[in-house]
């Protein structure tokens, strides 16, 4: 009998702890690298992960399969909790400007990032889906999604017109959809 993530969430909503343990084992290894990439500290990432799954336990009943896969549901929440964590850390200490800016600096399009991606492919490693986007599109999506910058902030940072940034985001997302459909 095949179990789906949606089945698990239904059972979790009914208070099934075993289903929750399985759900955690399935999805925590997927969202943990994403959270870690955003918050950068393992201890912070563990905190965010715990809160994320705690919320999932409490609000599993509100999951609606018609609105998307459980994975999309968890990934979206993981990203937004991680960004919240970085913002609140930043607010607490005005002198501490990392990691959002760090993340932004470290990201995309930069030669180092591209080299790393190509190197990974040369070694026969799987390139992550985002790494298969054209540099400028990947850059704007990463600045928004991982570093939490808004389109206006991205335009300022890259010294590009706002319209260009918007277009790149849209084209980048379209491309990302094609990439993930081509290699599920």
């Amino acid at each position: 009998m095949a179990t789906s993530g949606a089945d698990l969430l239904r059972r979790i909503a009914a208070g099934d702890r075993e289903a929750f343990a399985v759900f955690y084992d399935w999805y925590a290894p997927v969202v943990f690298p994403l959270i870690l990439r955003i918050v950068r500290e393992r201890a912070d990432a563990s905190d965010v992960l715990q809160e994320l799954f705690w919320e999932a336990w409490q609000s599993a009943g509100r999951y609606d399969p018609a609105r998307g896969s459980p994975e999309a549901w968890m990934v979206m929440r993981a990203r937004s909790r991680a960004i919240d964590r970085v913002r609140s850390t930043r607010r607490r200490s005005s002198t501490f400007v990392a990691p959002l800016d760090d993340a932004a600096a470290a990201v995309p399009g930069s030669e180092r990032a591209r080299d790393a991606a190509e190197l990974a492919e040369d070694r026969g490693m799987v390139r992550s889906a985002l790494e298969r986007l054209p540099g400028p599109q990947r850059e704007v999506i990463e600045l928004a999604y991982y570093a939490g910058l808004t389109q206006t902030e991205i335009a300022e940072r890259l010294k590009q017109p706002l319209g260009t940034v918007k277009t790149r985001i849209r084209l980048g997302l379209e491309r990302l959809r094609e990439v993930v459909q081509a290699s599920p």
Partner: protein
Amino acid sequence: MSHEPFDTLAAAWAVGALDGEERAVFERHLADGCDVCEAELRSSAEALAAAARSVPPMIPPPQVKEALLRRITATGSARRETLPPRRLVWAVGSLVAVLAGAGFTATFVATRYEARLGQVAREAAALRASVQRDEAALREQIAVYQGAVDLLRDPATQIVLLRGLGPSPRANGRVIWHPVAGGHLFVANLPAPPPGKAYELWTIGDAAPQPAGVFQVDGSGRGTYRIGPVAGGQPVKVFAVTLEPEGGVPAPTGPMVMASVK
């Protein structure tokens, strides 16, 4: 109006980049109900989820799962935020029944509440006492550290290392020592003494060892102790710790567990 501008807004919204007036406009548009945008956002969310899955998975630290399972077990069944509809109907039904018997129930509930309030007040008082105890302990600890820091500022202060001997080879310690003001002893990795016993510190100069106080260690083998000045300001050449009866003794009798390094 063409739908086109909303496609661009939806893309920015999907990666959390939409801001300002455009965000307000788009969220109003969503709230009005737009199947096109909803499908668009759904598809973007799935693509971003697939992107997250495309990087190598990472097993998080096992403590996270353990903590979650503990939390879940602790909350038991009282966790539900929203009751399933049938149970809600039932709950409303029983509430009505309870209200019907209100005359009797009110007295009963009031009595129950007074008992409960009394209990809450007692718990609060106990909590306050416990907080005050913790506060006193913290103040004491701060005073120790403050004293140590003050001593460290004094050029006459020395730091003497203590090493574990015989029964407790892993023990180590430091004495911050001022020839006139006395000092502080900090030890670590010293096993808890057996029942009825305690550690006693000795200062040894040219004459017989002088008792410098009895101290205990905590569960993790750490202890701090304020050492009074030596009578007559005699110079100290060696600090030593022995295991002695709890009340302390005037001259060492037990095994030496730590001594200063020459």
